[in-house]
């Protein structure tokens, strides 16, 4: 089947191929901080080339709507890209999944009404998947964003037989896709499919606690990617398929990483209503703990040689990353070695702590991951836990009953002494008590991370410089 194509189409095709290569390189270069920005550039080049090339497509005859849409899109994109604070990145990500999925869904819809009733079966399958995935991801991501932003109430909304209802909704949507595959002229089904998907998206996410959102978002990410790939199947556009597949696999891998690091299954995340427990176990019975003040903290820190800082969600919530940076700089200038221990799921999204500390200008070679830092804890005179809880909870090693049992944790309890910065004895995301806080060697520094660490910094800077100190 020698189907020759015009010179122009050939050119477009080759540019698409080039764009695909750029996208792959973009992700490849993201494998190291020093090359990462080159990766972004590659991505931009590929995107730009593909966009321009597409405008030369013979089917495009009028440009005003395109122009308007592009301008408006950019107008909204710039603030979304430049003004969103780092702590709001999870919401923003969810939002952009919603947008991407919406686009896929709409294109699918348009394609259906353009080509009906004679749509080739396999194409119809792809089209159906594109639309279902697209629209459920759209509403699902919106819900997720809403919950993270606190617009939608965070507490999971759970009732009996919920899973059945949800599956019923999704099932019927898929059945109708099947019917359309059999006979694409049954167009009445199409709107119902759309509706069903939209509803299912809401239902899926409404039952999930805010803290589980990151995992869900990554999952939705892979759906969005898959939907884009399906669009590629429908339009048989290879560039779309490639980009979609890349996006899909990244979303899937990230959610797997998170689940592993939390030692939980997808099913548990999606149907476990984990967040509900969080609500329940909010308060814990009171037991005596040793608490400490900023001044004493400053002295303890100043007296040690190696300090390991363990940041957690609390640092993000308190926006305390800059104070933490100041503190570590002060200590280092006083000849004390400072390392940061980053747990893979510390915070509320993958790499959360890394970004915040980078924002606060902490060099990334001062950050160490689980495997690298765990052997070091016994050597540390002091470990400063800043708003971390679950990721340092020894129950994960010992208590088989605990919901986080088996989750790899930072062995803070092996350190010589521990100072924990948090506002109260309230539990963390997993909603369970933490033995670490009651250990002999542990002292609690109660207060909002930002303000209390501010005081510690002031104390330290007031102290006289030590003699003969050099780093």
């Amino acid at each position: 089947m020698i189907a020759a194509i015009s010179g122009r189409d050939a050119a477009i095709t080759l540019i698409y191929l080039l764009a695909a290569a750029c996208f792959i390189l973009a992700l490849k270069w993201l494998s190291h901080p020093t090359t990462a920005r080159r990766g972004v550039l590659a991505g931009e080049i590929g995107m730009g080339a593909a966009l321009v090339a597409t405008l030369f497509n013979a089917r495009i005859v009028e440009f005003q709507w395109i122009a308007i849409a592009l301008v408006l899109g950019s107008a909204l994109g710039v603030p979304l890209g430049l003004l969103v604070p780092m702590t709001a990145v999870p919401q923003r990500t969810a939002l952009s999944h919603a947008f991407g999925a919406l686009a896929a869904g709409l294109v699918g819809t348009a394609e259906f009404y353009l080509n009906k009733p004679d749509i080739e079966k396999t194409t119809m399958v792809a089209l159906g998947l594109e639309v279902v995935l697209g629209f459920l991801t759209f509403t699902g991501s919106l819900m997720a964003a809403g919950k993270l932003q606190g617009i939608v109430r965070d507490r999971p909304w759970v009732y009996k037989g919920q899973n059945l209802v949800n599956l019923a909704i999704l099932g019927s949507a898929l059945v109708m896709v099947g019917l359309l595959v059999a006979d694409p002229s049954r167009t009445v089904f199409f709107p119902i499919i759309i509706l069903g998907s939209l509803v299912f998206g809401v239902m899926l996410v409404i039952r999930i606690g805010g803290a589980d959102m990151p995992t869900v978002i990554s999952l939705l990410n892979s759906y969005a990617g898959l939907s884009a790939a399906m669009m590629g199947f429908v339009l048989n556009n290879k560039l779309l398929i490639i980009a979609g597949a890349l996006d899909g696999s990244s979303g899937l891998l990230l959610s797997i990483i998170m689940c592993r690091a939390m030692n939980r299954s997808f099913a548990n995340v999606l149907f476990g209503g984990f967040g509900a427990e969080e609500a329940r176990a909010g308060e814990v019975e009171q037991r005596p703990v040793r608490s400490v003040g900023p001044e004493e903290t400053a002295m303890i820190l100043d007296a040690s040689r190696l300090v390991i800082v363990v940041p957690g969600y609390g640092m993000a919530a308190a926006q305390a990353q800059h104070k933490v940076r100041e503190l570590s700089d002060l200590l280092m200038r006083r000849g004390i070695q400072v390392k940061f221990a980053i747990h893979p799921v510390a915070g509320r999204m993958p790499g959360h702590m890394n970004v915040l500390l980078a924002e606060a200008n902490v060099p990334y070679d001062q950050l160490f991951d689980l495997d690298a830092v765990n052997p070091e804890f016994p050597l540390a005179e002091v470990v400063l836990v800043v708003g971390a809880n679950d990721v340092v909870n020894p129950a994960a090693r010992t208590d088989t009953a605990s919901p986080i049992y088996g989750m790899p944790i930072l062995d803070v309890d092996k350190a010589q002494s521990v100072i924990v910065v948090k506002r109260s004895m309230r539990s963390g995301f997993a909603g369970i008590d933490n033995e670490l806080f009651y250990l002999e060697k542990t002292q609690m520094l109660f207060g909002d991370a930002k303000s209390i660490l501010g005081e510690v910094v002031d104390e330290l800077s007031r102290m006289p410089a030590k003699e003969g100190v050099s780093r």
Binding site: G39, I68, G73, G77, V89, G100, N221, M231, A245, M349
Partner: protein, 104 residues
Amino acid sequence: MTRNLEVSLYIFVLASFIGYQVITRVPGLLHTPLMSLTNALSAISLVGSLILAGAREGSMTTMLGSVAVFASMTNVVSGFLITDRMLKMFRRREAPKKPGVTPQ
């Protein structure tokens, strides 16, 4: 089954392999930028919507297409911008020797 489907399947399988390979090599340090970058990339669905928006094949098609273009374009712009913004912040040891340096 059509030739197109055959081709699409091959491309999809190969691309997924590549995705798996390159993404497993991205360190946890960069997982957040990874999210936003892949996001921007998958907004390539732009190419699909552009054609619909410009194809003058009924006002409905044009409308759906235009909205899709708008949505995708938002992702393209914001995605690349925020990714680069994050990556700019990642620094090696040198910088913070002199404290108070604000992220550029």
